[in-house]
């Protein structure tokens, strides 16, 4: 058993119903924008003239991946397959090989990321126990001529720098404070 409920609606005036007055008001708004933009040449316009100007990416922006390096220049990655397993798009392919060292036992012989399949979720960064893979390169553009060129292998991934251009070996602090180099290792050493 439902009761009738009267909902009062705002009544519109005659001139609004006729709509021409509203159209004229709209036209005046747009012509004001037009004249202001013609006279103040390129000052109020929101367009970024790429490639002369670049968009500033926010902190924590997930761009193209990069593999970080140890102090001796080898990649930090120990080929534990955690990133490959967690990736929802199955785009990381790793082949492990013996490092010849009893402390850090493995290293990747082949580390390929198919950037075309990647959904840029950042799970691989979160799951890596060695802070070996990061997405803070800030690269917004991935443009190549063939699909093959966007399957990045270990040489492409280790050659990148962080997005302020500083080479990653000397990078003291990443943009995201949670992604500082060696942050994970320092904590485990303190715990140990």
């Amino acid at each position: 058993m439902s009761e009738e409920k009267n909902v009062s609606r705002n009544s519109i005036s005659f001139f609004v119903r006729v709509y021409f007055v509203e159209i004229v008001k709209g036209l005046l708004i747009t012509i004001r924008h037009l004249i202001r933009n013609i006279l103040a040449h390129e000052k109020g316009l929101q367009t970024i003239s790429y490639p002369e100007e670049q968009k500033v990416v926010p902190e924590g922006y997930r761009g193209t991946h990069r593999l970080t390096l140890r102090d001796d220049g080898t990649p930090r990655c120990t080929a534990c397959y955690l990133c490959s397993t967690v990736c929802p798009a199955n785009c990381i392919h790793i082949e492990a090989i013996d490092k010849g060292d009893d402390v850090i036992e493995k290293r990747p012989a082949k580390f390929e990321i198919d950037e075309l399949r990647c959904v840029f979720c950042g799970f691989c960064v979160e799951v890596c126990p060695c802070d070996a893979i990061r997405m803070d390169s800030g690269e917004t553009v991935m443009a190549e001529y063939t699909r093959r060129d966007l399957i990045l292998d270990i040489n492409d991934l280790t050659a990148k720098t962080s997005h302020d251009g500083v080479p990653l070996q000397t990078h003291a602090q990443g943009v995201n404070p949670k992604q500082r180099p060696g942050a994970g290792q320092a904590e485990t050493q303190e715990d140990a």
Binding site: H33, L34, L45, Q46
Partner: protein, 466 residues
Amino acid sequence: MPIRDLHLRQLVADPYQTPMQLYPYINIIVIAAVVVVVLLNIVPMMVWFERKGSAFIQDRLGPNRAVIAVGPLRLRLMGALHNLADAIKLAFKEDIVPASANRFYFFLAPFLGTVVAFTTFAVIPFASPDLFRGVAGLEDLNFQVLKLDAGVLWILAIASFSTFSIMLAGWAGNSKFGLFGSLRAGAQMVSYELTLGLSIVGIVMIAGSLEPQALVKYQDTAIWPFPFIIPRWGIILQPLSFVLFLTCIFAETNRTPFDLAEGESELVAGYHVEYSSLRFALFFLAEYVNMTVGAMLLVVLFLGGWSIPFFSTESLLKHPDAVGLFMGVAGAIPAAVLAFAFFRLFHKRRSQPYWGDLRDHEAAVLGGIVSLKGFGLLVLGLVCWFSDSDRWPVWLGPTIVALFQIGFFMIKVLFFLWLFVWVRWSVPRFRYDQVMTLGWKVMLPLALANVALTGLWLFCYDALFK
């Protein structure tokens, strides 16, 4: 006179001796060629208006990258070259014909649309027919392609054909989106054609003729000669009719706020979703040509066509030197303003280079060209004024007045073309049921009431003042 009376052998033997009987046909061919060339040039200009104008309205830059490289200098021309790039791109794209499409109609629809759009211009007058009466051999130079006694009916009939092209395109593409788009477009166009026709009836009744040249000549007269000279333009005599006609032209050309047939956010591309490359280019062309037809028709019927508010054709013909001076000065003033703007931009770029290379100097080049043009126009105007107009060849005065009238006509048409673009980016789209309600329940009764009131007024006027 029938063409079979001419001696073709004589004509072929001596083509420079064109007999006078051929002049009407030459008139038709020349004016038709001029009209087609002018139209084909208006379309890219309109596309540029649309892209750059909409960009500035929306606080963005718009197209500005396509360049013509002249040596190390790269001319951008504020994005106008993008039209050329688009035309070339559309010509070279892959032409996809869906496998299950109806091939005959698929091929026919864009051509039908374009041909119909161009044919409508046959009866639109550009300048007064009385200009060349005093010149031997050119007395019948009519600035229309065809002088039809039912010119307005020609336009209405041929414009109804454009509905065919849209409905065929949607059907032939064999896709649901296309079909929906074309059905909605067809229903909308048919509904608004009625009001289109009825809103013209008022001005036709007052002027007493269906021939466009006669309508414009009627509007060339003034209501009260002194002290205020108000011309008998359609917009003053029939304001409601003007508003109805304007709205119906928006609906006929599928232009926002009535563009639900090609609503980009709703129906992908509407009726031309299955078309690619040049076929799509033809639809695009047909839409802009239809818009130009609508604007020209509006100007001819309601804004006095080629007539200039305070000056009748006879008074202009008596003083062609003043007309020449006026055109020279009126052309030089905007050129001067534009050149000043360009040079100011160049000065700013020289102090803070934006590109860092020769592109900064582009503003100087454009400023130079525009100021040369303005200067040339001013010189021509002064030459017209200071030379002895009695010693001019007999065709020069009428030619100057013809240019003035054509120029004024084009200015009015350009204003309405800008209005089309302006309204597109200011008004949201109507819903389909709102469009139908408006067309049948509001526009049609208003148009009928307008016709009835005009008839009543004319009857009373005749009864009281005659």
